[in-house]
Structure formats: structure tokens, C-alpha cells
Homo-oligomer: 210 residues x 2
DNA sequence: CCGTAGGTATACAGATCTGTAAAGGCAAGT
DNA sequence: ACTTGCCTTTACAGATCTGTATACCTACGG
């Protein structure tokens, strides 16, 4: 739980698990559940509510997903998948020379346009304290992944050793904090300070950031 | 909701509301509820559970607090009160010349020793999305207060204008992020990067930080 | 033609949740 | 002596929650 030995500082290539294709009904269920879980909270959203909003019967929901816990896990998994894809793309498609390390912060601008309730994974951790819950693991993995991404990019920028891990943690902090601020006062202005702070911290370590 | 006109950049002297003295039973209820709400989540903790753990009857609980929502609000209010007192004390009792702006970060070290489930206010916001819920307001106020504190201290350090607000936001981000990191991997090590990052950001603005 | 997969409709079991009802015990203050 | 405040006990109403049972419809591929 505390630290991993070997590959923990390198983001895995694949998002944890490639999802099997969903039936049309399952697709609609998952989309609906995703919105409701995020917007109203997981525990506060009942399966009846999801089923009704998705315009399917509860029976179908249980046939496709088996349980509410499984549905919650699927929701977080897919969200994780999309988020990683978005960030990965933003990092890779950056014009060379431009600060790839700030890409995750820039992604937030579009991401938060339709997500003003903070970080879904932090929220999930708040509602599902049990570490044995699979959804708990997914949420924890997402944070580890972002940190590992920062570590990798910092490595490519020439930073090594203990300083690298510390700076990665700081970038994660700013990132998380930005989402909290945004949830309190939605709007692009809530994200700017974190990005600027990241740039300052990078510069302080001699990493040019634009 | 978005911004306040006059005194929003100055921390109010009094924690929102001075609590009336509690009966012994009410005291035990509130203590028990505080621990359970924080540790297991608010929605996931029923009033029966609270009553049983506090060794009082549900009737007493309702006689003292009126409703679960009111109990939740009382829980957050008291937590807010204690947190503010702790931070305020740490700021004021700092040896002159020492970086008072880092005091909130130092307080986290002792605070998180018994609070490894992240920020109770962020968690509450996750579980209670309705902005009309009084507990929601309490949580939002807490964040505003911390920012205002940073703004004030930065002002005393000679920083003014737009830069001041931005730096305050950055410190809040680091602060929140530290709590998230700590919830993922509890221990004092989770807090160090945020504190160090704060120092770097302060130095970058010419504010000596120790 | 027939089986299978995806979905529908309705009803229900069993647990748990918030909140209330009714009646009483006990100690302190006046 | 009498009230008032704090708390207890037991029971229950009514809603809501997760999950299941039963039976049926429809489209499609072999």
C-alpha cells in the first residue's frame, strides 16, 4: 500500500482493463449512471433512479452489471479510461518545445466545462472508504497514474532522483487543488492559478515551461 | 455565490456561530457522529448507528438535534471551528521572523495523524451536492476562510494586487492536494512536498520563508 | 423452425432509512 | 411539593434501498 518496488514510477500502457463491448441497453445505463453518480453522488443515487433515467428496467440493469457495486466500478473505470486517453493525447500532440508537463493542466480547461463537481475519484474515495471495494482501487490507481506521468515527463526533462518525485507530488497537489477550487467557483479562472504555480515550480527546478 | 463584494478577502473573527453548550448526551452524540461521518461517510452512516455507538437512544438524538441534516451540519460546523482555532493559534504563536504563511501546512502534520480520510469538507461537498444544504455552505465557507487567511498574511508580507490573490489560490491548491495525497498514502511524507512547494512559490515572489 | 440474446413488465422479499408516538424515570431548582 | 429538563424504552409509520422471481416479447442467425 505504501510503495511499490519496480514499475510504480512508470505509467502502464493500457488503461487497467479493456472493456468488453456493451449492449445498447448497457451503454445507456452506464452513461446515465455516470452522470447521476457524479452529479448527485454515488450513495445518494439508487438503481431505480438510474434505471428510470436510462429508460430501461431494473432487471436489465442487473442482467448487464450484476450489482450496483459493479456498476459503480464500471463507471469509475470508464471515466478513468477516458481521462487517461485525453491527457495522454494532449501530452503527445503537444508542439515540440512546448511544455508537455503543463498539458494535464490545460486539459482541465475543457474537462471541467462539463464537470464542475470536483474530482470524481476523490469523491468516490469519500463515499467508499472500504479499501477492499474495487471502485476504491480504481480511484487510487488514477492518482498513482497521474503522478507516474509527471515523473516520466520530468525524467525526460532531465530531472532525476528525489527532487523528481517531490516535484511530481507538488504538481499532483496543484492539480487536485485546482479541481477543488473549480468545484467551489466554477469557471476557467479557478484553474489558472494552479497552472501558473506549476510553471513557477518547474522554472525553479530549471525546467523551461514555455 | 460567485463572489462577495466587500469583506470577502478578510477572515471573519468569529467561527460562523458560537455553539450553545451541549448537554452531556448531545456531546457524546456529536463526538460519535463526527467520527463515524468522517470515517465511514455521511450518507453511509445511519442515525441508528450513531445512536447505538453513542449509547443513547434515537429519541434523544432527535430531541437534541432535530434531524440528521442538522446533526451533519453541527458536525461540520464544529470541525470547522476547531480547525480554524488550530490554524489561527499556529499562525499567531509563530516566532517572529518565521514563515507564518507556512503555519497552515505545519498544522497538517499533527492534524492528519488522526484524520487520514482526506478533507472532511471536500468529502461533505462530494456527498451533499445540493448548495442549499446548510452543511454545503459550511464546507464552502471553510475553503473561503483559508484563502482569506493566506491573502491577509500575504498582504502583511507586502504582496498586493492580483498577484496576491493568485498566490493565495496556489497555496490553497497545494494545501488541498496535500490532504488528497495523504488520504492515498497516509504519513508525514505525504505532506512534505506541498509545504516545500509553498515555500518555493513564496520565494519566487520574493517572500522569505525561513 | 428453433434457440438464444437482449430487453420488457410487474410484483415482491427483506433490509434499512429517517422520523414520530406514547409513556415514564430521575435529578435539580424553585 | 411541583415543575422542568434530560434521557430512556418500545413500537411503529412510511419511504426507499438492493436484489430477485416470473413470465413474456422480439429480432436474428443457424
Amino acid at each position: 500500500m505504501t510503495s511499490r518496488s519496480a514499475g510504480s514510477e512508470r505509467p502502464k500502457a493500457e488503461p487497467p482493463q479493456s472493456a468488453p463491448p456493451l449492449t445498447p441497453g448497457a451503454r445507456r445505463i452506464l452513461d446515465t449512471a455516470a452522470e447521476l453518480f457524479y452529479e448527485r453522488g454515488i450513495t445518494a443515487t439508487g438503481v431505480d433512479t438510474v434505471a428510470e433515467a436510462a429508460q430501461i428496467t431494473k432487471r436489465t440493469l442487473y442482467n448487464r452489471f450484476g450489482s450496483k457495486d459493479a456498476l459503480v466500478t464500471a463507471y469509475l473505470r470508464e471515466r478513468d479510461e477516458r481521462w487517461r486517453a485525453l491527457v495522454t493525447e494532449a501530452v503527445e500532440e503537444r508542439a515540440p518545445g512546448l511544455p508537455r508537463l503543463l498539458a494535464p493542466f490545460d486539459v482541465l480547461t475543457s474537462w471541467t466545462a462539463s464537470n464542475s463537481r470536483g474530482c470524481a475519484f476523490v469523491n468516490a474515495l469519500a463515499e467508499l472508504p472500504d479499501p477492499a471495494h474495487p471502485a476504491h482501487r480504481v480511484a487510487a490507481e488514477e492518482k498513482k497514474w497521474l503522478r507516474a506521468l509527471f515523473v516520466r515527463l520530468l525524467g525526460e526533462s532531465g530531472l532525476k532522483g528525489r527532487e523528481r518525485g517531490e516535484l511530481a507530488d507538488q504538481l499532483v497537489c496543484l492539480h487536485e487543488g485546482a479541481l477543488v477550487l473549480h468545484s467551489l467557483r466554477p469557471g476557467p479562472a479557478a484553474l489558472r492559478p494552479a497552472r501558473a504555480g506549476a510553471r513557477t515550480l518547474l522554472r525553479a527546478k530549471g525546467i523551461g515551461a514555455g
